[in-house]
Symmetry: C2
Subunit: 261 residues, 2 copies
């Protein structure tokens, strides 16, 4: 049973046929089924995600890392607590978050939490903008067993033929460009965009434009932190985990779980 758990947990969303396990473990199909039943119950009971069995010849079993709302909220509260440390405030109204998003435990849980909002979508690829969004995007991609693709800032690229688009950075109001190798996303792909920070939404807007050039469709946007101002973003639909309202007159950093939690 732990061997099956090892494989299922290590590759969320990937479908394993029962035959794979029958062969791997030299066990009867009925034993495998029974063990999977126990596993499903245990995961349900402890809210560790879902073990899903699909019937039929093309069927099998897979693991979906659905974390409970409470667990996500608890994690986000813990992060907010750490983000309130005044030394995290950076010039330009940014917060130092790299140490948190690059800690594998946080990256995994936050990536899975963001992925959870788009469980119905089943993206073909998870996109992000270099650099700080990469750990979250990789872990969200892992939750869906799909590739992660990171868009490069600027027009320079060393990865073969590429598409660049210009975008207006929501924060600095300057025109910048973003570049993606032509082969990185195929036409018709369903794309989930994950990033660490959303202010005006200019970057996300640029991602929409870029994906139009690839004939791919942005099915969802998930960010770790959004600023409360401007309230009106350049994009309509997105989810965030944390809202950041700047600093109050006492010098306190205003962060709280977002309205989606």
């Amino acid at each position: 049973m732990v061997v099956m758990a090892y494989h299922l947990l290590g590759a969320p969303h990937r479908l394993f046929s029962l035959g794979t396990f029958v062969e791997m473990l030299s066990a009867a199909k009925s034993t495998i089924s029974e063990d999977l039943g126990f596993m499903r119950q245990a995961f349900d009971r402890f809210r560790l995600g879902k073990v899903e069995t699909l019937p039929g010849a093309a069927g099998g079993v897979r693991y979906l890392p659905l974390r409970g709302k409470e667990r996500i909220r608890q994690l986000v509260e813990e992060l907010c607590q750490r983000l309130r440390d005044p030394t995290r405030l950076l010039p330009g109204g940014f917060l130092y978050t790299s140490d948190l998003t690059s800690t594998p435990r946080y990256a995994t849980e936050l990536g899975e939490a963001l992925a959870g909002f788009f469980d119905e979508t089943r993206p073909d690829v998870v996109l992000t903008m270099e650099v700080k969004g990469i750990p979250l995007a990789l872990m969200a991609a892992r939750a869906f067993d799909v590739p992660m693709v990171s868009i490069r800032r600027g027009a320079h690229v060393t990865e073969g033929p590429a598409v660049s688009v210009n975008y207006v950075s929501g924060s600095s109001r300057t025109v910048q460009s973003m570049t993606l190798p032509l082969r990185a996303v195929v036409a018709g792909a369903k794309v989930l965009f994950i990033d660490d920070f959303l202010r005006g939404g200019g970057t996300a807007r640029g991602v929409f434009d870029l994906m139009r050039e690839f004939q791919a469709e942005v099915k969802g946007i998930g960010v770790l932190i959004e600023t409360t101002t401007p309230r009106q973003k350049m994009i309509d639909r997105y989810v965030s985990l944390i809202e950041f309202g700047g600093v109050n007159e006492r010098g306190e950093i205003l962060v709280s779980p977002s309205r989606w939690l």
Copy 2:
């Protein structure tokens, strides 16, 4: 048992006290111990890594993702096969590898494979150079349950006080700079440097210089691909998984598992 597997597998190298599981599962300590024994045996038998029990009050149980040599070699052979696709050749003698290193399954297995070389070292932090090394470094960091830190190219930085050093890029022979926020690495830290590509070793040399400024020590260097020329690198000790010998007269890409496998 699967619940314990869930927690142990999800946080490699993290020590869980038996009491944690006793409480979580409302089970007797003897039952927990017995189940961990079964788990250890199953993981040994199927070479899925090691379940290690440490005795004493400060003891507990942890999971070490040691992959068998054969499994690593098999994975690397599979990657080499994919890398031989002639469309992967980029101007300047580089190979297009982002799609592979950003695929969560590969990133996980390759990151764990690289981490495995430094199991005795137990680094405090896994460093990488942005951008392409990040997925591998994050997964290597995950295997050690330590933070990942990515060095930025150039001297521009928006993450507070930072240290920059110059380095000579081994490939272009130009002087460049790399920057890391002061708070990203603490003095005395044992550092593992993970990157996707090693040619001359100039970047790795720069990382040594940078870590000297942080009073941290580079305990190991692991790269996915090294070029066979120049054979003499600017660093002495490192490991790689794949050797890349350029292109032969028939236009074939020469890649093979490295001499460490």
